[in-house]
Amino acid sequence: MDSAWLIPAFPFAGFLINGLWGRRLSKKRVGTVACGAMALAFLTALRLFWLLLQQAPDRRIWEPVYYTWIAVGEFSVRASFLLDPLSMVMVLVVTGVGLLIHIYSTGYMHDDPGYARYFAYLNLFACAMLLLVLAGNLLVLFVGWEGVGLCSYLLIGFWYEKRSASDAGKKAFIVNRIGDFGFLLAIFLTFWTFGTLQFSEIFQAAVQRFQPGDMVLTGITLLLFVGAVGKSAQLPLYVWLPDAMEGPTPVSALIHAATMVTAGVYMVARCSVLYALAPLSMGVVAAVGCATAVFAATIGLVQNDIKRVLAYSTVSQLGYMFLGCGVGAYVAGIFHLMTHAFFKALLFLGAGSVIHALGGEQDIRRMGGLRRWLPVTFWTFLAGSLAIAGIFPFAGFFSKDEILFETLMTGHGLLYTLALGGAALTAFYMFRLVFRTFFGESRMDPETAHHVHEAPGAMAVPLTILAVLSLVGGWVQVPILEDGKRFARFLSPVFESARGILAGTSEHGTHPSLWVEGALMGLSVMVALAGIGVAYRWYVADPQRPEKVAARFSRAYRWLLHKYYVDELYQAVVVEPLKRLAETVHEWVDRAVIDGAVDGAGALFRRAGAVLRRIQTGLVQHYALSVLAGVCLLILAALAV
């Protein structure tokens, strides 16, 4: 546990080495340093995991404190970590999936001139993300939070010469800042409420001092959620994530699917005690999550860019995680976070493999029939798609179904129905992607087709490992079976007090009979299969069908294709008016009024001087006259008194 600091330190060292000397090192060395740093971090994490398991379940909490970071008066915040099952799961996901994506990147980025810069950023990202999940208090978490935001900005705009890439990076940073605004205020409110930012102390005090429904806690949790909405791309701040696809594809896999964007979910789960004490905030989290899940899924239905479909799918899946947390099913939320990290990273890397093979092509209208050329990519992509669609026994089945099940069991019938509908949409758009990309006739131009090649080993191996994880990753939490819920058992100490509070306030705890659970599972699978079936009929059996449907519902289709015009709306309602306001104020207030007054004052004195100067004619007679006039005035004045 003393070596916890090593976990972020390894990637940081990698960042320094590649950042400072990377341009002078060979590509092989750069790759070795970056991957080696991640491997060391992963091994350290494994060792800590093993140590954690040795402890009794209720003693699996370590809080290493390193030094006092900022201290002013009663305010003091230490650089400290919190190692418990929740952060352990996150660390393992970040280092494990991170390592695979680093390895994949050595193949994917091999011919890029910015190779060293890329790996420096990627290592820095890993460092910040590990800081985020290991943080022992809100402020250290915020450091990681901003750090990953910075790396996301740098990596989205990695190809900075492309206008769209640097635009997207900037957009991501600024939109996230809007969320961070809420996060910062939440930190202030937390400190002045509890007098500390240390998680363990806050949670203890919250349980002791506050009743469920307290206004202050509601305020804190809602403000924190504003931060989560920004970072995890939920309504209404999701707009940056689809644009973030401008970054290199492994970055999309690591940052914009598997790890960074799940930070909001992690934070909500971390503060589960506070949320449990604020039922209103829980409701907001669940509602926003569910709405985002469905909203993003509908946009995903019609997009033609392979990465954008996956991006909207990520937004949608994050919505499911928030839904889980919002209904109090924290374990389910984190479980889905983990399985999603596996299969979404896999899907992105698979998409990367396709893009790599096709020399940069991302439009699924110009793909088709690729399974003949790219068998490894195809089979692994298929595994990922089955997982996200929620087909038994793939990982996504277990995690998504648990969220749906818990939603219904906590009495959120409407949310359950919507989420179930979203699941059907998910299955449909994913298999639309699979069929359009890998099945049917090739729609590539001959030049591209000529060069199509399967991924090299560095890319194929991570794909395969992730495909296996997408299959077996869900088996750590098998419902119905007697000894099935290992994952929940491991995590449960973290959510103990939150569950206690929730059990006291609502109808939690009524567990339905097994056959109800079984029937609901069957329903989920049926819905997913229906989605796949429709996709099959439209895109394989009857390829003319989608166009007819699009033509028939042309207005709805246009709205979806243009993503409900939300970007345009923000541009027209927020960005442009602010810019225009700034222009106007600059011209009329700053230049004309304020500076005008300054220059005016100067001019006034100059003019006055010019007038008064005339008195000084230099003629003695004039002076004598004015002396005389003065004397007369004085005499008059004296007489008057």
């Binding site: 030094y67 006092t68 970071w69 900022i70 201290a71 002013v72 008066g73 009663e74 305010f75 402020l139 915020f142 450091v143 901003e146 750090g147 910075l150 900005y153 705009g157 900075y160 010469e161 492309k162 206008r163 640097s166 635009d167 900037k170 940073f173 600024i174 800042r177 809007i178 961070d180 605004f181 910062l184 205020l185 930190i187 202030f188 409110l189 400190f191 002045w192 602010l578 810019k579 306001l581 700034a582 222009e583 104020v585 600059h586 700053d590 304020i594 500076d595 300054v598 100067g602």
Partner: protein, 522 residues
């Protein structure tokens, strides 16, 4: 720990003057020697500053290394220097930037090098004197002395187009403010003579006074105008963009990094402890102007086409934060303000240096003339990025510590103020990253930019210490904060003592202005 065998503060203040005298005797054509003399002088000053820093006792709130000699006894004027937690870090910053400034103009200034360096050294004496003087006549003297070399820097080495306008505006505007302060000092002096019979300009004597409330109001305003112009506080800020744009690089660096801090330092050193009740009374106004400055300055940044003007307006925004922190009357706010003064000096100083380096290469500061510079000058781009991130308050770098503490303190008093202030953080990301994008990203679309020379070792060498300090303060600010805490606490105690009575006296209930969340909720 004041076992220094010589008057180290005087040595620090007057070494630059000595260096300037020495320069006079150096041959006009021997420019390398002139530069080396200046550099060594500045380095010696920094050495003295390190001695002071090392010997400073962080546990004591009062003045240390004090020097006191009667100067004009008939009028009660004395030569009184001293350093406490409030001035220590500012002195360190000033001394630290000295050698960097000399190095920065090593190649930049070719015309009248000797005179330039003399100005720079005189400026150093003036600035150190302002931070160290404890006699108000002495303070005023340094305050005015410093104006002249600065105005000359703009007037002689500025950009030909508008340098006269900018220099005159800078000089007259600040001068106009100072005159009010001079009147204030005299009123204070005669009031003291009348009530206690002591004729003295010594700050410690003034501190012992209990000034009547109405007098405090007038004196606060008199001192406040001088300081507000210097900060510059909205709406007294319009001299700043002009002065910055026209000044040579080093002039901008000193102006942004040190000169502006004299305004905020003045508030903390004089207005708060001398006129505590008036400070409480004026809080709503000061906070309103500070918040206006934060948001207004940020908005103005969005439309600037000139890099220097943009950074100048960003200073208005950042110093708004400093003012906001001062008038929260919380330890976090005040400490945050103090460290933010240093932070702004480091990050904005670095930004002006970098813009100067660009200007040296391209002879333009217009954003539209750049674009895609990451490709030809990657090292410069990296440093620019780091300074930008420090400036927009990325945790792990210095700016965050200051902004966080200020907003934390503000939130305690009025959450709404903190929320308004925090919008400045969003806007800062917008205008700064947009600028970075337009300058460094995209394709190189001008031929002239394609063959720009990247940073040379001298330039890297003078940026690295700045970046190191940004990281140092960002990662481990406690060492710095601890040094100033007792002194700041003492100022705070003076204000808090009268806070209650002052509010009653003026029937001023800030709660009815903007109340969102009760302040003293436990």
């Amino acid at each position: 720990m004041e076992n220094v065998f010589f008057p180290v503060l005087s040595a620090m203040v007057f070494t630059p003057l000595l260096g300037a005298l020495l320069l006079v005797f150096v041959d006009r054509e021997n420019r390398p020697l002139q530069r080396w003399v200046a550099l060594v002088t500045m380095a010696v000053v920094f050495g003295f500053a390190l001695i002071v820093y090392g010997g400073f006792d962080p546990a004591r709130a009062g003045m240390q290394f004090e020097e006191w000699t009667p100067w004009i006894p008939a009028l009660g004027i004395s030569y009184h220097l001293g350093v406490d937690g409030i001035s220590l870090l500012l002195v360190m910053l000033t001394a630290f930037l000295g050698p960097i400034c000399v190095l920065a103009c090593w190649r930049d200034i070719r015309d009248r090098v000797k005179e330039f360096l003399v100005c720079l050294l005189l400026l150093q004496t003036g600035m150190l004197g302002v931070f160290l003087a404890l006699d108000l006549v002495l303070f005023y003297l340094f305050w005015e002395v410093m104006l002249i070399p600065m105005a000359l820097l703009i007037l002689v080495w500025g950009h030909p187009a508008r340098r006269v306008y900018a220099a005159v505006k800078f000089f007259l505007y600040t001068m106009a403010g100072s005159v009010f302060m001079l009147v204030g000092i005299l009123v204070l002096y005669f009031h003291q003579a009348k009530t206690t019979g002591t004729y003295s300009f010594d700050l410690t004597d003034f501190m012992a006074l209990r000034l009547p409330f109405r007098l405090q109001l007038w004196l606060f305003a008199a001192f406040g105008v001088a300081f507000a112009i210097k900060v510059p506080m909205f709406p007294f800020h319009t001299w700043l963009p002009d002065a910055h744009t026209e000044a040579p690089t080093v002039g901008s660096v000193v102006l942004a990094a040190v000169l502006l801090k004299m305004g905020t330092y003045g508030f903390l050193r004089f207005n708060l402890p001398l006129f505590p009740e008036a400070s409480v009374f004026f809080t709503p106004l000061m906070v309103a102007l500070a918040l206006a400055g934060i948001i207004y300055g940020a908005f103005m940044c969005l439309v600037q086409k000139d890099l220097k003007r943009l950074i100048a307006y960003s200073s208005v925004s950042h110093l708004g934060f400093v003012l906001l922190g001062l008038f929260t009357f919380t330890l976090q706010g005040l400490q945050g303000s103090l460290i933010q003064m240093i932070n702004h000096g480091l990050s904005t100083g670095a930004l002006f240096l970098l813009v100067g380096m660009l200007y040296e290469r391209r002879h333009t500061r217009m954003i539209a003339d750049f674009g895609g510079l990451s490709t030809p000058v990657p090292r410069l781009a990296v440093f620019f990025m780091i300074a930008t991130l420090a400036s927009i308050g990325l945790p792990g770098l210095n700016g965050f510590v200051g902004e966080f503490l200020i907003l934390l303190g503000t939130f305690k008093v009025r959450p709404l103020w903190a929320a308004l202030g925090a919008t400045g953080v969003i806007l800062a990301a917008w205008y700064m990253l947009w600028m970075v994008q337009r300058v460094f990203f995209g394709e190189v679309h001008k031929e002239e930019n394609r063959s720009l020379l990247d940073l040379v070792p001298r330039e890297v060498g003078l940026l690295v210490p700045l970046v190191a300090c940004m990281v140092w303060i960002g990662v481990a600010p406690t060492g710095f904060l601890k040094k100033s805490e007792p002194a700041v606490d003492r100022v705070l105690a003076r204000v808090q003592q009268v806070q209650q009575t002052a509010r009653e006296k003026t029937q001023l209930k800030p709660e009815c202005l903007v109340s969102w969340y009760p302040a003293d909720r436990k």
